[in-house]
Amino acid sequence: MGLLTREVEHAPCTVEISHKFESLHAHVRFNNGAVIYPGDEVQVEGPEIMAPFGEVVSEDRQATIIRASKLEQLWTRLTGDFEVMELCEFSFSEEVTL
């Protein structure tokens, strides 16, 4: 990893989407053990995926990982915390008026 350069990596991945009454969730798992670090960007290639209601779909896709440069990674580690309030749920969006 360069101090200022970004590297691009491709990784096979499995996308699982559950669109069931009992569970609405979606996860992407890298099948080659690729690990995501702060500041990295990930894009799953291909068309949008959506499971019909009541079903779980699992699709093997290719993901592009744009690795953050050393500097970006450091910056994300230092500043990411400022956004931590996002983890709190308040029932409503932040829009003042709808």
């Binding site: 996308v15 989407i17 559950s18 669109h19 069931k20 009454f21 009992e22 569970s23 609405l24 969730h25 979606a26 996860h27 992407v28 798992r29 690990v35 995501i36 670090y37 702060p38 500041g39 990295d40 960007e41 990930v42 894009q43 799953v44 290639e45 291909g46 068309p47 949008e48 995926i49 959506m50 019909p52 209601f53 009541g54 744009i66 994300t76 580690r77 990411g80 915390d81 956004e83 931590v84 309030m85 996002e86 983890l87 709190c88 749920e89 308040f90 029932s91 409503f92 969006s93 932040e94 829009e95 003042v96 008026t97 709808l98």
Partner: protein, 368 residues
């Protein structure tokens, strides 16, 4: 949407509900094909990483007894059968719902669904990247609950004719980073305040059922018990390391308490139609929720905010007003509003906190 299809609310069993929903789905798909306007709700969760080695290093042996009881309770999953529609899920008259209320209520459903969904993504990631069995087990259980809640809210959204769109999966997403301790402070409070918010509304509607404009509120009691146990788990995690709740970290705790309470106050006051329909005065509600949350957080935090202090309510109101002014204003006026908001927050943060001794044992049971 106007064909004489049975409504999922009319279903008496889950199976029937699902069958109706499927039939609706087919209808909606064809409607979409003919380009009938169908609102599409893009969920936009964020993606995070944290210090997974630090998570792996957590040793729960100092709270083992309480930990095992809590995990066993979560594994037994007493709420498993709860998130099902039964005869209590009565008909919702979306067509005749007052437009302002409808907008605010849908905002409530979408925001709640996104929050549950994001919680699920975060917890699942922590489960997958960790190697410490205690920790991965906990996060797996919490991810399960969040996905279940998201599914339940999604169903209410579907009834309103809204479809969630998971298009974000194939969009480029950047992973940000939070330190584990900030995740604990933020999510602990979020779960506990969530419990207080839901139970306060639930009890209020028990006393005033005429204000229950949607059946989802009937599910708030068990729902908030999940929030409660998640909060308990984070309290135990914090208990494993006394440094997390002492020294300089007390200032962080105070920051999170102030920020969470203030944000809640501001957001609730931006949804007047929702609160009016529930018959709830947002100022009364805020005070109730803060009181309950403060009482609960005494289990682990050595301070609570002095919400009876004269500066408290005054500055919450100033913050709320500045926040509204910020939207329409431009240039210097906007800057002025930002400064007023910042100053109000400083005034809230600097109110002397109430100090107290933390009990040796953390565990609480839902009491409200």
């Amino acid at each position: 949407m106007n064909a004489p299809l049975k409504h999922t609310a009319d279903a008496t069993t889950v199976e029937e509900g699902l069958a109706i929903a499927e039939a609706q789905d087919k209808q909606y798909t064809s409607e979409m094909a003919t380009e009938t306007a169908m609102a599409n709700t893009l969920l936009t969760p964020r993606f995070y990483t944290t210090d997974f080695d630090e998570l792996d290093a957590i040793d729960v042996s100092s709270v083992r007894e309480d930990w095992d009881v809590l995990i066993a309770q979560m594994e037994a999953d007493p709420n498993k059968g709860h998130f099902k529609k039964n005869e209590d899920w009565d008909h919702v008259d979306w067509e005749n719902m007052e437009p302002e209320l409808k907008k605010e209520f849908i905002d409530f459903l979408i925001s709640s669904c996104t929050a549950e969904f994001s919680g699920c993504v975060l917890y699942k990631e922590m489960k997958r990247r960790g190697n410490n069995k205690d920790i991965t087990q906990l996060f797996q259980l919490m991810a399960r609950d969040e996905a279940r809640h998201a599914g339940f809210i999604n169903d209410a959204l579907r009834e309103a004719g809204l479809r969630v769109n998971l298009g974000f999966l194939t969009q480029k997403k950047k992973y940000t980073y939070f330190r584990p301790k900030f995740i604990y402070y933020a999510t602990y409070l979020s779960e506990k305040i969530g419990y207080a918010r839901y139970i306060t509304i639930f009890r209020h509607l028990e006393a005033h059922p005429e204000h229950r404009f949607h059946p989802i509120f009937k599910w708030f009691e068990e729902w908030c018990n999940d929030e409660f146990s998640h909060g308990e788990a984070f309290a135990l995690l914090m208990k494993t390391d006394p440094k997390l709740t002492s020294g300089i970290n007390v200032y962080w705790i105070k920051f999170f308490l102030t920020a969470v309470y203030a944000t809640m106050y501001v957001r609730d006051h931006q949804r007047p139609a929702f609160h009016k329909a529930l018959g709830v005065d947002p100022d009364w509600y805020a005070h109730e929720v803060f009181t309950k949350t403060s009482k609960m957080t005494e289990q682990i935090y050595p301070i609570t905010l002095d919400i009876e202090h004269p500066r408290w309510q005054r500055n919450l109101e100033k913050l709320q007003k500045a926040n509204v002014d910020m939207v329409d204003a431009k240039g210097l006026k906007k800057l002025g509003a930002q400064i007023r908001a910042g100053w109000a927050f400083v005034n809230l943060y600097t109110i002397p906190a109430k100090k107290h001794a933390v009990p040796a044992s953390v565990r609480l049971e839902p009491a409200y």
